[in-house]
């Protein structure tokens, strides 16, 4: 029997913004290597907050959080960048750097990791070709359409070949055909070994792919009824 390596695990974790009531409470979920989860729930339920905790933009205000085996809730600041480099994030609002070209945006994770340009130049170019933007490598984000920006963001999330891919509403700005292609891509990447969490409110897509679903409602994360293999406890 093969034992899957754990990607992350929350234990009784909670997240509050300032002195306000907890946005997320009693989070007890985990994700193993190569697993796929959809994350659904109404707008404002806390999907983005949960993803922020996972990609270490925020830390839980209570409880425990282990990421790649490290105690990420209490790890010193210096320990966080190496963990973040193992995660590829497709942000809901893309968060591309407007003053950089598509090429430089995609290359960003490599640059901050100190990789030499000669080592990632071909990879970044191939990846941009792969997302169909080979002809727009020198374009600035402002000159790209929403769908093109989405694909640049996708390429940036994948360039460092992450162990965990997080996507926050990745189909929110593209047409249905492109939505389907992007979702299928995540499934393919998952088959290749990456753990994937996709936050979406597009239930049609969720149902069509038949993957396990985590549902957030009233600040609590639970496994959706009928979904197989979910990590909620």
């Amino acid at each position: 029997m093969t034992v899957k390596t754990q990607i992350f695990r929350f234990e009784d974790a909670g997240l509050a913004y300032g002195d306000a009531a907890e946005t997320l409470s009693d989070v007890n979920i985990d994700l193993g290597e190569g697993e796929f989860r959809f994350l659904t729930g109404p707008s404002g339920a806390g999907k983005t907050s949960l993803l922020k905790m996972i990609y270490l933009a925020m830390r839980p205000t209570r409880g425990k959080f282990f990421l790649f085996g490290e105690d990420a809730a209490n790890a010193p600041r210096e320990a966080l960048p190496p963990l973040r480099r193992r995660i590829g994030v497709v942000f809901q609002e893309f968060r591309l750097l407007d003053h950089l070209t598509a090429f430089d945006n995609v290359a960003l994770p490599m640059k901050v990791a100190g990789v030499n340009l000669n080592q990632y130049r071909e990879d970044v170019s191939e990846l941009l070709n792969w997302v169909g933007l080979g002809h727009r490598m020198d374009a600035k984000p402002a000159t790209l359409s929403g769908g093109e920006q989405q694909r640049v963001a996708l390429a940036r999330a994948l360039v460092s070949k992450p162990d965990l891919i997080l996507a926050d509403e990745p189909t929110g700005n593209v047409d249905p055909a492109m939505s389907e292609r992007i979702m299928k891509l995540f499934v393919e990447l998952n088959k290749l070994g990456a753990a994937v969490i996709v936050a979406t409110h597009d239930l049609h897509l969720v149902q069509s792919l038949g993957k396990p679903v985590l549902r957030i409602a009233d600040g609590r994360v639970s496994r959706a009824p009928g979904a197989g293999g979910g990590g909620g406890r």
Binding site: E33, Y55, L56, A57, R77, E78, P81, P82, R84, R85, R86, V89, R95, L97, D98, H99, L100, T101, F103, D104, L108, P109, K111, V112, A113, G114, L117, N118, R121, E122, V124, S125, E126, L127, L128, N129, W130, V131, G132, L133, G134, H135, R136, M137, D138, R151, R156, L158, S160, K161, P162, D163, R181, K184, L185, E188, L189, L192, G193, A194
Partner: protein, 321 residues
């Protein structure tokens, strides 16, 4: 790290034009593409302020050097010269005393040169106060002997003073100590003041860097956040800001240096024109070492700017992010 290669999955490239990596010239490998935008660190206004700071810093350093050079020359001249004054009731008594004093001076080791001023030359020194010919007509003018002495003799004039007093009872020796001490004090005060200005200008450059670095971070909050989220360390971000500030600082500092050299050149031309008429004015000239000191000022300015920005960014990131 997993070995997942996204390109093993089906891509989006059907029908799209394939592109080659962006063409970047040979020198691009040495060029650093800034991850923070130009305007983020203050840009042109910061360059202008640093240029002004550098200008003032170079001028204050030049003042330190000029005062040091001039004071050194003045005090050296004063230290190497003494004056012997011979008084008497009559001209004959003064002349006898003067020749006795000259004899003592010639026989004293360490006396390099002794020049007895004529009565006309001595009277000329009084003209500004007593008017032409009045001094000779109404006063018995003491004899003046200008003496150049070696440093060894200058350190111990008591023996010479005693021998002069014994040979010519009306002879007194003036070692210019009062002038020397006053001049040295004035020079030291001037140098201290100029150095204080230099330190204050550097302090102002630090303060400006802190303000600009904080403003830059606030203006680029989203970019800094993205850099963190893709795995950048605080040191990486601080290095980006430091590099940016160093370039801006260097640009501003060199502008300030050029402006300061132009101002110093103009001042030197005016001052040196005046030296011919009044030798008390300092000779304005700079040697290689002086130029080296002045060139080090803009370098120090941009280093101070860059290092301050780095430390500010590190501190701010640890506190805010």
């Amino acid at each position: 790290m997993s070995t997942v290669d996204p390109m093993d999955a089906p891509g989006f490239d059907e029908g799209a034009t394939q592109g080659a990596p962006p063409k970047r010239g040979f020198f691009s490998r040495f060029r650093h593409e800034p991850l923070l935008p130009e305007a983020g660190a203050g840009g042109a206004p910061l360059t202008a302020v640093i240029a002004v700071m550098s200008f003032l810093a170079v001028l204050s350093m030049a003042a330190v050097l000029i005062i040091n050079q001039s004071a050194g020359r003045w005090t050296a001249e004063l230290r190497s010269e003494i004056t012997v004054q011979v008084k008497g009731a009559t001209a004959a008594e003064i002349a006898a005393g003067a020749s006795a004093a000259m004899r003592v001076l010639r026989e004293t080791p360490g006396v390099e040169e002794a020049t007895l001023k004529s009565e006309a030359e001595a009277a000329a020194l009084l003209e500004p106060w007593l008017g032409k010919n009045n001094a000779v007509a109404f006063l018995t003018i003491p004899a003046l002997i200008e003496v150049k002495v070696s440093p060894t003799l200058r350190d111990d004039l008591d023996l010479l003073r005693n021998r002069l007093a014994a040979a010519a009872p009306g002879a007194t020796l003036d070692d210019h100590a009062t002038w020397h001490d006053r001049l040295a004090t004035a020079a030291q005060s001037g140098q201290a003041l100029a150095f204080l200005v230099f330190v204050l200008v550097m302090g102002a450059a630090c303060a400006i860097s802190i303000f600009a670095a904080r403003a830059g971070l606030a203006a680029n909050h989203d970019i800094v956040s993205v850099l963190h989220l893709v795995g950048a360390t605080d040191e990486f971000i601080a290095s980006e800001v430091q590099r940016r500030f160093f370039v801006l600082g260097l640009r501003g500092a060199m502008t300030g240096l050029i402006a300061a050299f132009a101002a110093l050149g103009g001042a030197a031309a005016m001052l040196n024109a005046g030296v011919g008429r009044d030798s008390f004015l300092p000779q304005f000239s700079m040697g290689g070492w002086h130029a080296l000191w002045l060139f080090s000022v803009p370098l120090a300015t941009c280093l101070v700017t860059a290092v301050t920005a780095r430390l500010t960014v590190l501190k701010t990131l640890r506190r805010q992010y």
